[in-house]
Amino acid sequence: MVEVKRVVIAVSEGTFDKAMMAMMIANTAVSMGMEVHVFATFFGLNLMKKGYKPKAPGMYRMFTGMFRKKMKAVGVDDYPEQVKMAAELGVHLYACSTSMGVMNVKEAELLPGVKILGAAGFLNIAADSDMQFFIG
């Protein structure tokens, strides 16, 4: 059997493009047999909240629906389904504890299975990783 690679992804923005990129990398990696950890911080913390629907960034915001429709047309599910699938496939999801305080997010608002973690906890996981992605 091939050696299991560990992927860590830190996300600091919650816009549609970054949310989708984080989940598409995570879901592909876990489908390739990799161990995946996604750490959500600052505006990225929104990705770990129940019912969050990301919008396209800046002036593209009004085109969010069009992007979603185009992705749906090629079989790529919208963000809520992507993050649900990630959890089901065994992707580890983390919410940054400091960001929760800053963004005023309560534990009850997080998606099921999301763990609360500080920087040291995340670095401990990242220290033994093979690949690191920063999406922000």
Binding site: M1, T28, S31, M32, G33, V74, G75, V76
Partner: protein, 76 residues
Amino acid sequence: MQKDATLDAKGLMCPMPIVKLAKKIKELQVGQVLELVADDPGAKEDVPAWTQRTGNEMVEMKQEGSVFYFYIRRKA
């Protein structure tokens, strides 16, 4: 090419063929062959990358027009 199951991923773009492939291969017994049909241009590189990374065997791949056919033996 003898096959035990088929996964039609035509019309799906990255990463869906890979995500669906990873789910589907688990339905096969070790040693059985899955036919994956895809027309995502990325699949040509992505599917061999997946087999290499997961330890499954790419028995054969062919292209007809813009459609790719992959025959993958479940190993792991």
